[in-house]
């Protein structure tokens, strides 16, 4: 257990050492998204059920911050260790594969949660000044549930990709060609009802769609999809990506780049 806690502590200290890159920068991105999309363009967007667009956007941006940073944390931790050569250390110390995956996974969740939390604070501030009211949190327990499942899913995904990637290009390709489309087609910025029917169908195969909508339901009580399905898909995503991370840890490369 001490080994697991030590690795978790190291993961947290690692991202805190480069706080501008790991926390401040994504928070500024979220701030700009809120300013441009939520405040400026938000007036011209009409949502169903009379939900203000800013209220709709805030949970989406929080999830985007959560998953991007969870993924970045675990993958960059492994990749920088591949560059520096200390990844092999993890193989020679008495820590189990499960402890390594969970420590790296939770490290990612904590960074993702911090970015999501500050994004939420900024969003709530905008909400108060633009709409003149404090945004109410509808279901706090489900917020924690989706932070944990969403963060773990994408941290595990980061572990998987970083271990099987042989070059930095392969890692970047995953972010550009997989993670980015999943995010944009998952309903961060718009309800999928506004998409072409083809893209609506595609979105239903996107696990992020269920995560974003589950989280949105937890925050504003409104969602494009049934909560039970969101919960089940989120749990299934954690299980599948854990299996992928474990496979990568056993079969992937610890070698220096």
């Amino acid at each position: 257990m001490i080994g697991f806690l030590t690795l978790l502590e190291k993961e947290i200290k690692r991202f805190l050492k480069v706080i501008i890159q790991t926390l401040i920068s994504p928070i500024i991105s979220s701030f700009l998204y809120l300013l441009v999309f939520g405040v400026s363009l938000g007036n011209s967007v009409q949502m169903k059920n009379g939900v203000p667009y800013l209220s709709f956007l805030i949970p989406g941006l929080m999830v985007m911050g959560l998953i991007n940073n969870s993924f970045q944390n675990s993958s960059s931790s492994i990749v920088t260790s591949k560059f520096s050569g200390d990844l092999e250390d993890l193989r020679v110390v008495p820590i189990t594969n499960m402890q390594i995956i969970m420590a790296m996974g939770l490290g990612g969740v904590i960074r993702g949660f911090l970015v999501a939390f500050v994004t939420g604070l900024v969003g709530y501030t905008f909400h108060y000044f633009k709409l003149g009211e404090v945004m109410k949190i509808e279901h706090p327990f489900w917020i924690l549930f989706f932070v944990l499942t969403g963060g773990l899913t994408f941290s595990f995904m980061g572990i998987f990709i970083a271990f099987i990637a042989k070059t930095f290009d392969q890692l970047s390709a995953f972010s550009t060609f997989i993670l980015l489309p999943l995010t944009y087609l998952g309903g961060v910025f718009v309800s999928i009802e506004t998409l072409h029917p083809v893209w609506q169908t595609v979105s239903h195969f996107n696990p992020l769609f269920y995560l974003i909508n589950g989280f949105r339901y937890a925050v504003i009580g409104f969602s494009d999809v049934d909560l039970t399905i969101s919960i089940l898909v989120s749990l299934l995503s954690v299980a599948i990506t854990y299996g992928m991370a474990r496979y990568a840890l056993v079969k992937g490369s610890f070698s220096r780049w």
């Binding site: 080994g3 050492k17 520096s84 050569g85 200390d86 092999e88 110390v93």
Partner: protein, 290 residues
């Protein structure tokens, strides 16, 4: 659990060749054991299989067949136990950029389940002359300091078995000497040490026994002085009172009296005698090239 820190039994390790799909045998039926308080040198040219053996002991690689046991426990069956017994100094220098020396040693202690390990960390920092650099980030360290940090990391949990894979590569002469002294101290504390090195002078100075490996196979295993006397040329250099200097080679089986009698030299004519017992380097070259 037994008292033998490390035992390899008929170890074979093969790797698939990507191009041809065939297999290359990197380690071929290697067996040896190391006793507590012994420094065992594993010597061989580049690509001989030394690092493959270290990787198998540390479970970075799985054996194709055969066994590696640490204190009688198979490394593949209970890797957590065997990892706790050993410390490893890798061949390549590690450059973890984010943390200071002290932070790295604290993390390393934690990986071995040690929360309050400050006295041991302080001892190692002092011993390895890193005390005044403890707050420095790794990227600020010289190559020699990084090497010492790697040794400190390997020793932070007081292992009973130490694997040193080329520990003095790229280290200056002064530091090498001090590391040799430190390794000798560790041996005197009862730690079993497996040393791979390219510096045969290092092996000759430190190791009681050596194993010489070539193309994955052990071609000699035994006491260091035995390999030297068996495979190197003993030389006797005489300086005569007349100023003449004479050298006799290939005299390993002869005593001095026999040499003098055979060459009709009177003992009273000799001013100085120097006997060169031969070097491990010479023995090593002969064995590997034969």
């Amino acid at each position: 659990m037994n008292q033998i820190p490390l035992e390899l039994k008929n170890l074979i390790k093969t790797y698939p060749l990507k191009e041809s799909g065939k297999f290359v045998e990197a380690v071929r039926d290697v067996s040896f054991a190391i006793k507590p308080g012994e420094i065992f040198g594993l010597l061989g040219p580049n690509g001989a299989g030394k690092t493959s053996i270290i990787s198998t002991i540390t479970t970075l690689e799985k054996p194709t067949s055969g066994q590696v046991e640490v204190f009688g426990v198979d490394v593949t069956k209970d890797p957590l136990f065997t990892k706790k017994q050993m410390g490893v100094v890798h061949q390549e220098i590690i450059n973890t950029g984010f943390f200071t020396i002290e932070e790295i040693l604290k993390f390393q202690s934690g990986y071995y389940g040690l929360r309050n390990n400050q006295p041991r960390i302080d001892y190692l920092l002092e011993k390895l002359s890193l005390k005044e650099h403890r707050s420095k980030n790794v990227k600020q360290l010289s190559g020699g300091m990084k090497r010492r940090l790697m040794i400190a990391k390997a020793l932070v949990h007081s292992p009973k078995l130490l694997l040193l894979d080329e520990p003095t590569a790229g280290v200056d002469v002064g530091l090498r000497e001090s590391l040799w002294n430190f390794v000798t101290e560790l041996k005197n504390e009862g730690i079993a040490i497996l040393l791979t090195t390219h510096y045969l002078e290092e092996a000759e100075k430190l190791c009681e026994r050596v194993g010489i490996i070539n193309k994955g196979k052990i071609i000699f295993i035994g006491e260091t002085h035995a390999v030297i006397s068996q495979y190197s040329t003993k030389k006797v250099h005489l300086e005569m009172k007349s100023g003449l200097k004479v050298s006799f080679t290939d005299v390993a089986s002869m005593g001095l009296v026999e040499i003098l009698e055979k060459n009709k030299i009177a003992f009273s004519d000799i001013k100085n005698i120097k006997v060169d017992e031969g070097k491990l380097e010479e023995a090593f070259s002969k064995m590997v090239n034969s």
